[in-house]
């Protein structure tokens, strides 16, 4: 316990313990890549999310060719021919007479990056009439890879925004209920219980049906965020309230009051900061709920509407076993949901291990 050694701050100790957890570090890297990818979706995707070509419905992934007659050449892709077999199934055959070299920074669909920066260059693409489907095409011949990136933008951001809203509400309600106690506590907690009592998914559906159906996509997006956070705050508020009930009895709270600080300042400045480490991992562990909630709504057609992409509504293509059999790549959004949810859970668990004061490294030895 020498003074020099002890000078690692709480945060540094937590960071050091976090780094020991390889799985969680991997989760951070994967999530980081996913977020960077969806932020630059317009540029990284070969096509716009609504660029469709019905001649390529459920076209399988395009294979990038590196060799031409056993010689290494600039990568290119072959064109495809659509035929129908006897059962009217679609058969795509590779047409080796058409070759389309890959182009970097290829001009393509125009876009406005994040809604303001106009551009038309895409990282990778092929010239028309060639089509480049890195991960196959969906029912309308839209590029699944491009839609995954655009859809990820919605699926990945909805968790963050939703969690911000519900945690703000949860911290305020929990803090107020726990600090004042008594009747205030009773009323606020009964309200919480009313929200927790109704099964989440039905509440989700009921609230969604209360939203006007003439909303545009942005409005629908925010309506879904608000609905999801509306359901999520109650559980957090109860836990924060419990912590505040014990925190308010600390002498530094009394001391703060003897210096004339207002209740609001005491709750936000002296009580809630002590719930931070809990809140951090609770945030991480609750984000998957928002992602899954959005996906579930979109999957059954109540969330993000076509042509806008989200991982959930892309999966609605995959609700028939026949389609999955012939075009397994339409399940990919599910894979991405799975990976994202696992990453958040792994990170959340690791954060709990390194932030929870009961599991300090000193105790574990």
């Amino acid at each position: 316990m020498s003074a020099d050694k002890k000078h690692l701050s709480e945060f540094q100790i937590a960071l050091r313990n976090f780094k020991k957890n390889r799985l969680a570090c991997l989760g951070v890297v994967i999530l980081g890549l996913l977020y960077v990818a969806v932020i630059f979706a317009e540029f990284l995707s070969p096509y716009s999310y609504k660029n469709e070509n019905r001649n390529y419905s459920y076209c399988p992934p395009t294979v990038i060719q590196f060799f031409d007659e056993n010689r290494l050449v600039w990568p290119y892709v072959y064109g495809r021919q659509l035929e129908f077999n006897a059962y009217h199934g679609r058969i795509y055959t590779i047409d080796k007479t058409q070759k389309y070299p890959l182009r970097f920074f290829a001009p393509g669909d125009t876009y406005q990056w994040l809604g303001f920066l106009p551009g038309r260059r895409h990282l990778i693409g092929v010239s028309e009439p060639g089509r480049f489907y890195l991960l196959g095409a969906d029912s309308r011949g839209r590029d699944v890879f491009s839609r995954l990136l655009y859809g990820g933008r919605i699926s990945l951001s909805i968790g963050l925004i939703g969690v911000c809203i519900s945690f703000t509400i949860g911290l305020i309600v929990g803090g107020v209920a726990g600090y004042y106690g008594g009747r205030v506590d009773d009323i606020l907690m009964r309200i919480c219980e009313m929200f927790m009592m109704v099964p989440g998914f039905y509440l989700l559906l009921a609230l969604r049906s209360a939203v006007p159906d003439n909303f545009n996509s942005v409005q629908v997006y925010f309506a879904i965020v608000v609905i999801l956070s509306f359901i999520g705050w109650a559980g957090l508020a109860r836990i924060i309230r419990g912590m505040c009930l014990s925190l308010r009895e600390r002498e530094y709270v009394l001391a703060a009051r003897t210096f004339g600080l207002s209740d609001r300042k005491i709750i936000t400045g002296h009580i809630l900061p002590h719930t931070v480490s809990y809140s951090i991992f609770a945030v991480m562990l609750s984000i998957p709920g928002y992602i899954l909630g959005e996906s579930a709504l979109s999957l059954i057609g109540l969330g993000i509407q076509d042509p806008f992409a989200s991982w959930g509504n892309m999966l609605s293509d995959a609700m028939s076993i026949v389609r999955i059999k012939f075009a397994p790549w339409i399940l990919l959004p599910g894979f991405f949901i799975f990976v994202t949810v696992i990453c958040f859970n792994v990170i959340g668990d690791a954060l709990r291990d390194c932030l929870d004061p009961l599991l300090k490294s000193e105790v574990k030895g």
């Binding site: 106690g181 600390r250 530094y252 001391a255 009051r257 210096f259 004339g260 600080l261 207002s262 002296h270």
Partner: protein, 259 residues
């Protein structure tokens, strides 16, 4: 010393335990002398701390001030609005606690917490507040005030923490300080230094101090007047020398023998 900065009259505090009332402070009358140190002495559970917290109206919700008046600047604090009380707390009347480790919030530096009082009660700018914090830490005799500002409570020794606590209490020049067993958790040499500090502050800042303690040794060194409290009542009250030399009440004698 004829003037009293605060007069408590007939203060009665009760606690409700399962519908039955227990009296904690029983018709207490007390004058806190202007620019003087009044020691409120008594054993555990005699109602000293309850009296101190009643003055600030910060009793826990289970405790109730049943009747009485607390005159401060010819105003009855028990009838004052909550907003008015908030203005008084810290600015006119502040408190020093027994255990500064638990009276400071462990997640903020002591500089930040002293500054918080300034932020609330004054309209000093950021840099002026920082300068004032350093000045305060210097006044209470902390070495290296600038470095101490960024220290967290657990990084300081017990004596330093108590000094920081006192710096926080005098941050906005209060008139009255309620010191609740300020030296009980310190060793003897540190006790002497903290007492010295109180005496100095009293003189320099024209403070009145209500010293809550069970330590008669400290009382003899520091207090101008002593009030001995037993089971919620004042049993003996007078100048320090008189009480210590010729204790009248049996309880006072008992305290002196055990202390």
């Amino acid at each position: 010393m004829s003037h009293a900065v605060m007069r408590l009259r007939n203060l009665t505090v009760v606690v409700n335990v399962l519908g039955r009332e227990r009296v904690l402070v029983d018709g207490l009358n007390l004058d806190i002398p202007q620019e003087g140190i009044l020691a409120l002495v008594g054993g555990s559970g005699s109602g000293k701390t309850t009296t101190g917290l009643s003055i600030l109206r910060l009793l826990s919700p289970a405790l109730e001030i049943q009747r009485g008046v607390i005159f401060y600047k010819s105003k009855d604090l028990l009838n004052a609005t909550e907003a008015h009380m908030r203005q008084l707390r810290g600015k006119e009347i502040s408190m020093v606690f027994q255990e500064p480790l638990s009276a400071f919030n462990p997640v903020f530096s002591i500089g930040y917490q002293i500054e918080e009082v300034l932020r609330f009660h004054t309209d000093l700018g950021r840099s002026r507040r920082k300068a004032r914090v350093e000045e305060l830490l210097d006044v209470v005799g902390m070495p290296d005030p600038r470095g101490m500002r960024d220290k967290y409570p657990h990084q300081l020794s017990g004596g330093m923490r108590q000094r920081a606590m006192i710096a926080q209490a005098i941050a906005v020049d209060p008139k009255l300080i309620i010191a609740d067993e300020p030296t009980s958790n310190l060793d003897v040499t540190l006790q002497a230094r903290i007492m010295e500090l109180f005496r100095k502050l009293k003189k320099e800042l024209k403070l009145s101090i209500l010293l809550i303690t069970h330590d008669l040794g400290m009382v003899g060194h520091l207090a101008d007047e002593v009030a001995v409290m037993h089971q919620g009542r004042i049993v003996e009250h007078g100048p320090t020398q008189q009480i210590l030399d010729r204790p009248q009440h049996a309880y006072t004698r008992e305290l002196m023998e055990t202390g």
